[in-house]
Each structure stands twice: as structure tokens, then as C-alpha cells.
Point group: C2
Chain length 119, copies 2
Amino acid sequence: MDSGEIERCGFLCVHEHTVAKVLEQMPEDEKLYDLAELFKVFGDSTRIKILYALFEAELCVCDIAQLLGLTQSAVSHQLRVLKTGRLVKPRKDGKTVFYSLADDHVRTLIAQGMEHINE
Amino acid sequence: MDSGEIERCGFLCVHEHTVAKVLEQMPEDEKLYDLAELFKVFGDSTRIKILYALFEAELCVCDIAQLLGLTQSAVSHQLRVLKTGRLVKPRKDGKTVFYSLADDHVRTLIAQGMEHINE
DNA sequence: CTAACATATGAACAATCAATCATATGTTTG
DNA sequence: CAAACATATGATTGATTGTTCATATGTTAG
């Protein structure tokens, strides 16, 4: 088969080799799940704000809270989510904890997302 | 002020000019909200699977459902979310509706996300 | 027109989540 | 050691979300 016929959804509209390609290049379920988890971390405006604040400099928790008009607790909870997703990293200095972006993927992803928005 | 002193959180740890820069380059609230909304759309493994399936070819709803082992209804609901986020676009052909990726940002964003995962 | 089919939609429910409040941990200062 | 401070954590709660089931819309074939 796979000649060019399009059988409607008695089973599949598309050619068999297309189906094969789709299934072949599809990553494992676990990867897909992890990827969704990553995007989920970006999917909250409070966390986006925190990341943007860290674009310029590392900041401590209470700075972020005051800059963005948020509770210390709320910021701390969200920083934990961002840390777990390896988007930010902490640096402890006495009783203060400074957070900064974990790597450049964060900037790149946010920039790409912004491009999509501005269209 | 803004000389180099670091006053701990009596008010701010960081220099005033850093605070100024942060606030200056921070996009408007609405943009930040929209950006979070965009990432939220990527933040579900079912939708990620659908997008991956559309990497190879445009597919109709029931194809996607069968390929991924999902209900027609579930796929339709999620395609609506993807369509609203302008990540996929429909092409109607008789009673069949074929969906395809809306633009290349989708590929780019997913690729960038995957890079972050694989580290 | 009617039956069959592909897709879309709406209501309902369980699960997930972000903010809040209260409190715990850990560090510095006196 | 005790008080003050920065941060983290745990429980609770209101809101959001993904799936399911039932049904509606719209198109094609007979």
C-alpha cells in the first residue's frame, strides 16, 4: 500500500509511511511528559515576572517580592518551582539567598515565546 | 546613591540602578500574562503529543486520535486550545478538518525546550 | 430527504495549582 | 543565649484544567 490513496477515517486519512514517520520520530512518553512539565513552569505570570526580574541581575527573595509586589511566601514557593525545573539557581550568602537564571535556555525560550506573541 | 553599598533587606539588597533597569525592561503586565498563557498551552503532554504528530504532516482529528490513542472529543478539545493559541491551523475539506502547525515558532520552541531537558 | 460520518460543543467531575496564613529552619547580632 | 531577620515549608482554599459522556452542527452519499 501507501500509493497515494486517501481513505477517510474508516481507519486513517494519511498514508502509511506518514504514520510510520510520525510514530518513529515521536520521543518516548517520559520525554514528552518532562517537556510538558518544563513548559508548565513557564506557564504562570508570576514565575514569568520573576524570571524577567532575574534577566538583569541576581536578586534575593525579599527584593523580588518588593520589586513585584508579592508576598515573601509566594515568591519563595514559586522559586522552589523554578529551582526544581532548573530554571534558576540559588547562591547562599549568610541568611540571604540570591537567585539567578540557571542557564541561557531561559532567556532563549522566553525570547522565542515573546516573538510568537508579537505577531 | 547607587554607589556600591549592599543594604540588606531593610529595603533592597541591590543597587538602585539595577532596580531601575529591571523595572525598565520589564514588559507590560498584559504581555507577561499573554506569554504565560502561551507557555501554558505547551504545558500539557497531550497537546505536546499532538504538536509532535503534526511535525511530519497535517492530520485530521480522527487520525490524531487513533495515532495517539485518544478520544475524538479529547483531541477536538485540545485542538481548540492549540488553535486559540495560534499554534495550529485548520484546513477544512468536506467533513474532514486537517490540522497543521501554524508557524515555525512551534518547532523552535519545542526544540529549545527539548534541549533544556536533555542536559 | 435521510442515514452515516467527522467534528465541535457543553456540562460535570476529579485533579492540579497558586496564594495565604501560620510556623519552622537557619543565620547573624548583641 | 536571646532577639531579629531572611527564607522555607505545610495546610487550607478558591480557581483552573483535562477528560468523559452526551449531544449538536455540518457535510456527504444514497
